[in-house]
């Protein structure tokens, strides 16, 4: 009689342990795949930033040929671009607020230097008739727009990730697995809008 009770008790304990372990495993796996999605979203953001950086030398050369005396403006762009190239952010570094902030401010600086350049060259009608320049301008507009889309997607996935690892039972698994919160892109003043590059 007593044995039977013990057996039942043991069975319940085994079932409990089993369900807790399988819950922990599936939660852990869920976090891992979210972590992977964050890395994917991040690489998309980086791709678009890289694309913008790649367009710049061409743009600067085109502008140089026509508007030679706007030297200050286009050297500012070139400098901002070289700063951007110095900061590489791997997905493992996304939880570091400091490097993330550095990365974002370098990119934002480049963005505003670029839009300043594009506003300055508005004075040059030769550029507006220059097919090469028009194409570069369209590509740049497109890239800025893609950057904002990818940043938005990235923020969305990071939000999911952070919520998952911060909510109560999940946070235990996350702490055990060594996951920590990731950084968001903050909308700097006006960066919600695509920079004005109209002509």
């Amino acid at each position: 009689m007593k044995n039977k009770g013990l057996l039942i008790g043991l069975g319940i304990v085994v079932i409990l342990i089993f369900s807790v372990v399988s819950w922990a495993v599936s939660t852990y796996n869920g976090i891992v795949s979210l972590d992977e999605s964050v890395a994917t979203a991040w690489s998309q953001v980086e791709n678009q930033y890289q694309r913008r950086a790649d367009l710049i030398p061409n743009l600067v050369n085109t502008v140089k040929g026509v508007a030679n005396f706007e030297k200050e403006t286009y050297t500012a762009v070139a400098e901002a671009r070289s700063k951007v190239n110095e900061i590489k952010l791997t997905p493992q570094m996304l939880s570091n607020p400091q490097t993330f902030k550095q990365f974002q401010s370098a990119q934002d600086n480049l963005g505003s230097a670029l839009s300043r350049l594009l506003v300055t060259v508005e004075k040059y009608p030769e550029l507006k008739a220059n097919e090469n320049f028009l194409q570069l301008q369209t590509q740049l507009e497109g890239t800025e727009n893609r950057i904002s889309v990818e940043r938005m997607n990235f923020n969305e996935i990071v939000r999911q990730f952070n919520t998952t690892i911060r909510k109560f039972p999940g946070s235990l698994v996350a702490g055990f697995g060594g996951f920590s919160e990731k950084q968001y892109f903050e909308a700097a003043a006006g960066s919600e809008k695509v920079p004005e590059v109209k002509f």
Binding site: Q44, Q135, T138, Q139, E141, G142, N145, R146, I147, S148, V149, E150, A187, A189, G190, E192, K193, V194
Partner: protein, 242 residues
């Protein structure tokens, strides 16, 4: 003090700009005109062309006429409309949305991930500037849209092939339709002769709905029933004004 007030005013303006999110319409036709610009037959014609294009290539092109979105950026608006309506097929991401804001005098061609190669930003921009804009300037909206669609179709037609024969909107076996039919057969067999005519009619409409997803009722020759396939967008395309 003055500076503070200025900053405050600016902040309020900015937050208004950011939060005044426009209504994102649900597209039920290939061509959605919320401004009463086009005539019924013009809309029907556009719907027919775009449906035929999807039937043969699986590429989805949608057209949306909206009156205004105030100061909201058209890029964000077009992206959200395209995303929310799942334009394009899943996996191919071959959707295109052509938005026209009549009062704002702005337009945008939003291009899905999978078509950014066939229709790059520069080409989209050239379509807007050279094919569409001249017509819009003369207030020929129908001609402008047709010119735009024609160029978009020309640019993208070789890119994808339709690989599902007809049932483009279904992912899998149409269990729902089958159950529905069985239900009706049992129901009306049980009832005997009564109400058989009506039953057959309903059955007919259920069948036609299931096979193409386009018939919308009794004798209504309504072309262009649109339903998104789950394509995604990355912000490609170009904008312009007239």
């Amino acid at each position: 003090m003055k500076k503070l007030i200025l900053t405050l005013v600016f902040a309020i303006l900015l937050s208004n700009l950011t939060f005044a999110q426009p209504y994102i319409p649900t597209l039920e036709r290939y061509c959605t005109d919320r401004t009463n610009t086009l005539t019924k037959s013009e809309i029907a014609n556009i719907n027919r062309i775009l449906q035929q294009f999807e039937d043969s290539t699986s590429t989805q092109i949608a057209v949306l006429f909206e009156y205004t979105i105030d100061n909201y950026p058209i890029e964000s608006f077009a992206y959200q409309v395209a995303k929310q309506n799942n334009i394009g097929q899943k996996g191919k991401n071959n959707g295109i949305l052509f938005v026209i804001l009549k009062k704002d005098r702005k337009m945008r061609i939003e291009v899905g991930y999978g078509l950014e190669g066939a229709l790059p930003d520069a080409l989209a921009s050239s379509i807007i500037r050279n094919d569409v804009k001249p017509h819009f300037k003369n207030l020929n909206f129908y001609d402008g849209v047709m010119a735009g669609i024609t160029s978009i179709i020309a640019a993208t037609k070789g890119e994808y092939k339709q690989d599902k024969s007809r049932s483009k909107n279904e992912d899998g076996f149409p269990w729902g339709t089958i159950l529905f039919i069985i239900f009706f057969i049992i129901f009306f067999m049980g009832k005997g002769g009564r109400g058989n005519g009506l039953g057959m009619l309903w059955l007919g409409s259920a069948l036609s709905n299931g096979s193409g997803g386009r018939s919308s009722g009794f004798g209504d020759s309504d072309f262009g029933g649109f339903s998104g396939g789950g394509g995604s967008f990355g912000g490609g395309g170009a904008s312009g004004s007239w």
